[in-house]
């Protein structure tokens, strides 16, 4: 999304402030923000399919209904299959999680032991004992203290996710009319430029969301294949979960990596090397992601300076906790582009003069 030039220092400060304010507000209506973001992502990904149907002769509304119906069928199948899986495993999930946590503990203990043997300083520090103590503290009543709140929170979210199909249907069917409605409120002087910027913003958002999906697909393929070669069970699903988690900047990748390593350590307790190989694979894919896939897929996404990225993550975390961490970067990106577009339109001296002249005309007519 490098459609617009980089904002100046003051614009940047304003964008950061607005992002923080928006994050604070969004935290209060997170039940609406997340379905909206999900809907936007799905909408931009299925829009080309709908366009193809229209180009092949289908009416716009029929194409929108068909695409929406197929999406609903897919979602229903996934929810149904997922539900069946959850019901089937309901009795064992707590033990399964504890088994993976224990697998992680064994790996840590072995690593600490190896480090103690290799570096005498670690031995004098009782590294192994300390790791054991910290781990025992962390896992004490793990399911009750850590998993239950997460599970209950997820249940609270389910009803709001029902908004997603409704929003997608609205966007597929009425986005053109919505655009017309928004543009109608723009004064004549700014009309053409606003329309142009609106069109560019729309294209950029489409590129961004489609790029993100393609990136997830590439990540899933690389991780899935790598894990399969290393002999990890359910390799593709693990790869997919890690790739989706990577949507949360930094933190998501970290959680994904821990998850993959825990599974490897538990499934192959006899060989710590497998777990380390998974770690290496994960780091390799991340590097590939940053230097090859990302420029290829989301090449035109917002170019945010790394320092600013970290700053926004900290600010997002401070202002809106976990929600802020997830939303900080996409929100900053959207506000930066929109702010830049609006400032381009509003600060155009020629257009402003024309707008003021038109206002004078209206005022003088009213006086007469």
């Amino acid at each position: 999304m490098k459609t617009f030039p980089q904002p100046g220092a003051i614009t940047l400060l304003v964008v950061i402030l607005i992002t923080c304010l928006a994050l604070f507000l969004f935290q209060k209506i997170i039940w609406l923000v997340v379905p909206l973001l999900l809907s936007l992502m799905v909408y931009y990904c299925v829009r080309p399919v709908m366009r193809t149907l229209v180009i092949r002769g289908m009416q716009h509304e029929t194409a929108a209904k068909l695409v929406w119906l197929v999406l609903q069928l897919m979602a229903a199948t996934i929810v149904f299959a997922g539900g069946l899986l959850v019901v089937a495993k309901a009795g064992t999930w707590q033990n399964e999680i504890l088994r993976y946590v224990a697998g992680g503990q064994t790996l840590l203990r072995e690593t600490a032991g190896a480090l103690e043997r290799a570096v005498p300083l670690f031995q004098s520090m009782n590294l192994g004992t300390q790791v054991d103590q910290n781990f025992a503290q962390f896992t004490d009543r793990f399911a009750e203290k850590k998993l239950l709140p997460v599970f209950l929170q997820s249940l609270k979210w389910l009803p709001f996710l029902l908004l997603v199909p409704y929003i997608i249907y609205f966007m597929l069917n009425d986005s053109v009319r919505l655009k017309k409605y928004v543009i109608r409120s723009v004064p004549n002087a700014f009309f053409e430029k606003s329309l142009l910027l609106f069109s560019r913003l729309d294209t950029s958002l489409q590129n961004y969301f489609q790029g993100l999906l393609l990136l997830t697909l590439l990540d899933t393929t690389c991780l899935g294949l790598g894990l399969e070669i290393l002999g990890i069970a359910n390799a593709i699903w693990l790869g997919l979960a890690a790739a989706v988690l990577a949507w949360i900047p930094y933190l998501g990748s970290f959680i994904g990596c821990i998850m993959v390593v825990l599974v490897a350590a538990t499934d192959h307790p006899e060989s710590a090397r497998t777990a380390y190989s998974c770690l290496a694979l994960f780091l390799g894919v991340r590097l590939l992601d940053d230097f090859v896939f990302l420029p290829l897929t989301i090449g035109r996404k917002l170019s945010i300076h790394p320092v600013l990225t970290v700053l926004m993550l900290f600010l997002g975390g401070m202002v809106a906790g976990a929600t802020g961490l997830v939303l900080a970067l996409p929100l900053f990106g959207v506000i930066a582009v929109t702010g830049e577009a609006v400032s381009q339109v509003v600060t155009d001296r020629k257009l402003r003069t024309r707008y003021q002249a038109a206002r004078q005309l209206v005022l003088s007519r009213e006086i007469v």
Binding site: E192, L195, L361
Partner: protein, 169 residues
């Protein structure tokens, strides 16, 4: 009368029928949409932006990058070109006339300043949306393109014969 539906206050019509009979007639009477069926006009209407200009208001300025064509529904617009070749042209555009049609094919700067000399209602078709229309519905695209080509060739012929004509801006 044609502009009546456009003069009404705007209402949010996301889920309702967007087109009434009066508006259909209004669009049907515009030469470039003359050949379109009701269904096709409904489709084109989705892409048209209605703009109302007060007397003396500038529609676009000479040198502005052109991003779309304006079709006059009611009222009158006057071109004020600085180029000497355009000095002999008819400078007033009335209902049904196209203005800025060249920008549908390139984004070259506008060749004249255009001002509303009376309250004027226009519908604007943006270049990007016109391109997507050509892709989405070739039938409509061809019909509209033929009408635009007719207008362009008529104006070009008049220019060659040095007759009074409306300029392509």
């Amino acid at each position: 009368m044609l502009a009546m539906s456009l003069d009404k206050p705007d209402t949010m019509r996301f889920f309702g029928a967007d087109m009434n009979a009066q508006k259909f007639e209004m669009l049907k009477n515009i030469p470039i949409f003359h050949e379109l069926s009701r269904k096709e006009i409904l489709e084109v209407d989705e892409l048209l932006h209605e703009r109302v200009y007060d007397t003396g208001e500038i529609v676009f300025d000479e040198g502005d990058p052109g991003h779309g064509v304006y079709i006059i529904v009611s009222g009158k617009l006057r071109a004020d070109p600085s180029h000497r070749l355009l000095k002999n042209t008819v400078l007033d555009f009335g209902p049904g006339e196209l203005m800025g049609e060249l920008s549908l094919f390139d984004e070259a700067p506008r060749t004249a300043k255009v001002i509303a000399i009376e309250r004027t209602v226009t519908v604007a078709l943006f270049q990007a949306e016109f391109s997507s229309l050509l892709l989405k519905n070739k039938n409509i695209g061809v019909k509209v393109l033929v009408e635009i080509a007719r207008t362009l060739s008529r104006r070009a012929r008049q220019l060659l014969l040095q007759e009074k004509h409306l300029p392509s801006l």
